[in-house]
């Protein structure tokens, strides 16, 4: 176990997708998957396929929308972009995530006896 790889925490995949789209603008599925892998420094074990059901769910909720377009190297691809509703959701989820991780971090850090 030289280098440990982590699975994506349940429920965080949507957050990662939303954040990616918010930062980079419209992107196809492959791009989103690549971006997540890159940012995590290849520490996350991501079956790239799993982002598609997640994207569908986000689309059903109205947080992202889709459009077929042509990629930089001339491949037809489905592009996803974040909606205003999705941005609001992202802000709320980021806030949530920070609070949660802060609490967990405080628990795990050496106590101030």
């Amino acid at each position: 176990m030289a280098k440990s790889r982590h699975e994506v925490l349940p429920g965080t995949l949507s957050l990662l997708i939303l954040k990616t789209l918010d930062t980079l603008g419209p992107l196809h599925g492959y791009g989103i998957a690549r971006r997540i892998e890159q940012v995590s420094g290849d520490l996350l074990e991501l079956n790239q396929g799993t982002i598609y059901p997640a994207l569908l769910k986000l689309e059903q909720l109205g947080w992202i929308r889709t459009k077929w377009s042509v990629s930089e190297n001339n491949r037809r691809a489905k592009y996803y972009s974040i909606t205003r509703k999705g941005q609001k959701q992202l802000i709320a989820e980021e806030e949530d995530w920070r609070r949660t991780s802060a609490i967990v971090t405080r628990f795990l850090s050496p106590s101030e006896k």
């Binding site: 079956n47 396929g49 598609y52 059903q60 037809r76 489905k78």
Partner: protein, 945 residues
């Protein structure tokens, strides 16, 4: 919000499945290509790159499957798939499916039609604001509490030693209302109001007089009901004053029929009993009155103007004369108040007023004390008023519930048929189901699929059933008239949303009822054995299937026996000796008193009419009577025997009749003693009477009756008995003959009013109708001639209920038998199919055709005979139950048994005849498949598998 959005998105996903599927494939393909491109650029060779891309992506099919699940609505999709599958199954055997759907449709249709009656008669609430806060006041008192002068119907649930009444006197109502008003905010009622029916008003619109029904109401009636007229204004307290101008509110129906829904009608005058009333409003169409369920008044007037219409016979009472117990009382509860509070707050006032109004206590027999015991004091009762007055509705409940029970049983038989059919089919599908179970299909999933199929059947059956119900509802309306006791006159049936909801519920319920057990059994196969044995696993009839057949036979037997009992009752009643000759008798009714004829003028009118009638061609003899015969009408009096005084008299009653002197000759009623009436028995001669034989037997046994004097309790008249005639039926064919006293019409003074004419004709009675109408018109063209017909038709009409029972029970019994026969045939045919090989072997070993016939027929008939046995036992149990003390005398179950006449609930002849009929039909149903079994060719059969 987002849930709805997701749902819509998914719903869309279901319908665009193909293009979405393509899109997903494209997307994944483009993903993989981009990845491959990138990897190639990093230096991998193309094959390696494609392989690595696929590995990074994960399982493509898995992703697609997850994606699909999320895209559509799997539950709905499976349901639709099951539905499509079910439809295919139905189409594959169209005849069986048709039979199944039709038998269900008949069952559900009959239930729907009957429920529309239940809904219209028993459930429908008044269409006013918050009807559930309305309550009806009634009262009870000991039997010795006397109430003289009553008009109206009462049917109040009270202990056996009490009398119950839902009628009140005007003065007593006024005192109670005052008490309620005085209580102010303390009162638990927001309003206490009264209404009373006024039957047979002569109304004149244009120049056509007609007889209509009306009602008189207290000034706060509309306010208390919270009822707004659809046009014009309501009657108010100001209208209900003795000095106020007479006003009338029309019912919507009357406004439509007589005024062509003319909006200008407000402000016009309407003549009621020749008095002029100003029309001020029209009630909404949905409101048909608060009175008894069979009474829909066309006009409503304030109570204060009732004396205008009724003149001296006003029911309100005058200074000298007490009023009549006639008014119905209703109250509206304030929010949060209870019936009990309303009752207790008015009970004291009512009791004091009633005791004050009461004449001397009546002697029920010689032991009754002269003083009223406190336990016999009148007490107020309350009942829900949300549906209007309850009394008459209670009379309809037995017939309606009785028939409802019948149609429910028919549906049960249809269900048993369907269950058997599905059991057989499940047997056929055993191999398919076991294969599916073996490859891992969930049991619940399979049950769901089978249930979807049976629900499809039942919903289809229900849909067709609604059409049958529409037809059946009209048939019910056509079958019922005033006397059938199923549908009150004027009540309209509609298949409204409540009824359709009921149909839907029944359809779904039946779908589960006949589908669940077969589905459960079909999926509980023992896999190894059923896979190995394939179709032989279901060769014999399952015990469940047998049980269902036995049940069907038993239930149809009971229904048919019921029908038989009513056919016999009807024929017994039709053969009852009425005591007079009813052939060639034309009857009609006149009500000249409603048009203002009185005393001498009334006498003269009738005399003139008879003078003409007697001369009229085709008339052999014309007479009349006060009470129509065999028409469920009566007139009775209390009286004193010679030597009795009012204070000591025991309770005895007699029926009354007032007739023209030629009545007995015309009706062909034999004289037993004394003389008849003559034209000279008039107001100037001594008062005389003729009695029937039962009168003599009951009050003057073994005594000389001629010359005896008796005294009527009200009116204080004394009459001398001058003759005795043979007994006749009076109210109905069914009744026990009661003491009856006839008086000559010319000695009745002001009690002569409406009369029922009886004209003995030479030929067909109805041929004279036109000339009789003309005769009346010649004398007074404002006088309506009503209830025209023959005596035979009138007599038949009183048997309406029995005829309805006999017809409907016969119809449904026949239907049940047909269904059971179809069921028997189906199960046997299926079983013969399954046993083809066995039968072939038997025949190969030398079995004769007759052996095979016997084998199959006996297989079915054994069940039929068992079913008959069970039916007899169930019938006996039912008889014991109906006759047990578990049901009180006023419950509908008890009343049902009282419908029978001259026949015991267990009538051996009926049992035998019905049993034989059933066996005959069952034999046919068994013989058909048996014949097929006998035609089996052993060679073919043995090669069968």
């Amino acid at each position: 919000m987002s849930r709805l959005r997701t749902f819509l998105f998914r719903l869309r996903g279901m319908f665009r499945k193909r293009s979405l599927e393509q899109e997903l494939a494209d997307e994944i393909l483009s993903h993989l290509q981009m990845q491959t491109d990138d990897l190639e650029r990093q230096g991998l060779d193309p094959d390696e790159a494609r392989y690595a891309a696929l590995r990074k992506f994960g399982g493509v099919e898995q992703v697609k499957e997850t994606y699909r699940e999320r895209r559509g609505l799997p539950f709905l999709e499976i349901f639709l798939r099951d539905l499509g599958y079910g439809a295919r199954m139905l189409r594959r055997s169209p005849i069986i499916s048709m039979v199944a759907i039709m038998s269900l449709a008949l069952g559900i249709g009959a239930n729907t039609a009957l429920f529309s009656v239940v809904d219209a008669v028993l459930l429908k609430t008044l269409s006013v604001d918050a009807p559930d806060r309305l309550l009806v006041f009634e009262w009870q008192a000991g039997r010795s509490f006397r109430t003289t002068g009553m008009s109206g119907t009462s049917n109040v649930n009270v202990p056996a030693d009490m009398r119950g009444l839902s009628l009140f006197r005007y003065d007593i109502f006024k005192k109670m209302q005052q008490r309620q008003i005085d209580a102010g905010v303390e009162s638990s009622l927001s309003d206490l109001f009264a209404f009373g029916p006024i039957r047979d008003l002569t109304a004149k619109v244009g120049d056509q007089p007609e007889i209509i029904n009306g009602q008189a109401v207290s000034g706060n009636y509309f306010a208390g009901l919270k009822l707004q007229p659809s046009r014009g204004r309501a009657i108010t307290d100001e209208d209900d004053q003795p000095g106020a101008a007479p006003v009338v509110v029309l019912s919507n129906q009357y406004w439509q029929e007589r005024f062509g829904a003319n909006p200008e009608v407000i402000g016009q005058q309407l003549l009621l009993n020749k008095q002029s009333f100003t029309i001020i409003g029209v009630t909404p169409a949905a409101f048909t009155g608060t009175g008894q369920v069979d009474y829909q008044p066309s006009v409503t007037i304030p109570l204060a103007h009732e004396p205008f219409l009724q003149g001296e016979s006003s029911r309100l009472g005058t200074a000298g004369e007490p009023g009549v117990w006639w008014l119905n009382l209703m109250g509206r509860l304030k929010p949060g108040a209870t019936y009990e509070q309303a009752r207790e707050s008015l009970n004291g006032t009512f009791q004091r007023a009633a005791l004050e109004a009461m004449p001397q206590p009546r002697k029920v027999d010689q032991r009754t004390p002269d003083q009223l015991a406190p336990k016999d004091y009148p007490r107020l009762l309350t009942e829900s008023g949300s549906r209007g007055m309850p009394d008459v509705r209670k009379d309809y409940a037995p017939t309606i519930y009785g028939l409802f029970m019948v149609v429910a049983l028919v549906l049960l038989i249809a269900c048993a048929n369907l269950a058997n059919l599905l059991l057989a089919r499940a047997g056929l599908r055993g191999p398919e189901i076991s294969v599916r179970l073996a490859v891992g299909a969930g049991r619940w999933r399979l049950i769901r699929q089978l249930l979807t199929e049976s629900l499809l059947l039942s919903i289809l059956g229900g849909t067709v059933g609604v059409f049958f119900a529409f037809w059946g509802k009209n048939a019910l309306v056509a079958l019922t008239d005033k006397e059938t006791g199923l549908l009150p006159s004027g009540v309209e049936l509609s298949l409204n949303w409540r009824v359709l909801l009921f149909t839907l519920a029944v359809s779904i319920l039946t779908g589960f009822l006949f589908g669940l057990i077969p589905a459960w059994r079909a999926t509980s196969l023992d896999l190894t054995s059923s896979l190995k044995q394939s179709r032989r696993a279901t060769a014999s009839m399952s015990p469940l299937s047998k049980g269902l057949l036995i049940l069907q036979v038993a239930v149809s037997f009971i229904l048919l026996v019921g029908a038989g009992l009513f056919v016999k009752t009807l024929s017994n009643l039709q053969r009852v000796n009425l005591g007079f000759n009813q052939d060639n008798l034309l009857v009609f009714r006149l009500q000249p008193e409603a048009s203002g004829y009185k005393n001498q003028r009334l006498l003269q009118f009738y005399q003139q009419l008879f003078a003409r009638l007697d001369q009229s061609p085709g008339v052999r003899s014309a007479t009349f009577a006060r009470v129509g015969l065999i028409a469920n009408e009566n007139w009775f009096n209390d009286f004193l025997l010679p030597g009795e005084s009012e204070e000591t008299a025991a309770d005895h009653e007699m029926m009354r009749q007032m007739v023209r002197e030629n009545y007995f000759a015309t009706m062909e009623i034999p004289f037993l003693q004394g003389r008849g009436f003559t034209a000279n028995d008039d107001g100037h001669s001594p008062l005389v009477a003729i009695v029937n034989k039962t009168f003599v037997d009951q009050y003057f046994p073994e005594q000389e009756v001629l010359g005896k004097h008796i005294r009527f309790l009200n009116g204080n008249r004394e009459v001398e008995i001058v003759g005795v005639v043979a007994d006749t039926k009076y109210e109905s064919q069914r009744e026990e003959i009661k003491p009856l006293l006839y008086t000559p019409w010319q000695q009745e003074g002001d009690t002569i009013g409406e009369m029922h004419f009886l004209v003995r004709t030479a030929g067909e009675p109805t041929a004279l109708v036109a000339s009789v109408r003309q005769l009346v018109r010649d004398l007074d063209n404002n006088l309506p001639v009503t209830q025209v017909g023959t005596q035979v038709a009138r007599t038949q009409a009183t048997l309406g209920k029995e005829r309805l029972y006999a017809r409907l029970l016969g119809f449904f019994g026949g239907l049940a038998l047909l269904l059971a026969a179809i069921g028997l045939f189906g199960v046997l045919a299926h079983s013969v199919n399954q046993r083809t090989k066995e039968i072939g072997i038997r025949m190969a070993f030398g079995a004769q055709v007759k052996n095979v016939l016997r084998l199959v027929i006996w297989q079915g008939m054994r069940l039929v005979l068992l079913g008959l046995g069970v039916g007899v036992l169930m019938g006996y149990a039912l008889k014991r139950l109906l006759e047990s003390r578990y049901f009180g005398p006023r419950t509908w179950q008890r009343q049902l048994t009282e419908q029978l006449y001259g026949v015991n609930l267990i009538d051996p002849l009926t049992l035998i005849v019905i049993g034989l009929l059933l066996i005959l039909v069952a034999l046919i149903a068994c013989w058909l498949p048996a014949r097929r079994a006998a035609k089996v060719d052993p060679l073919v059969a043995l090669r069968y598998e």
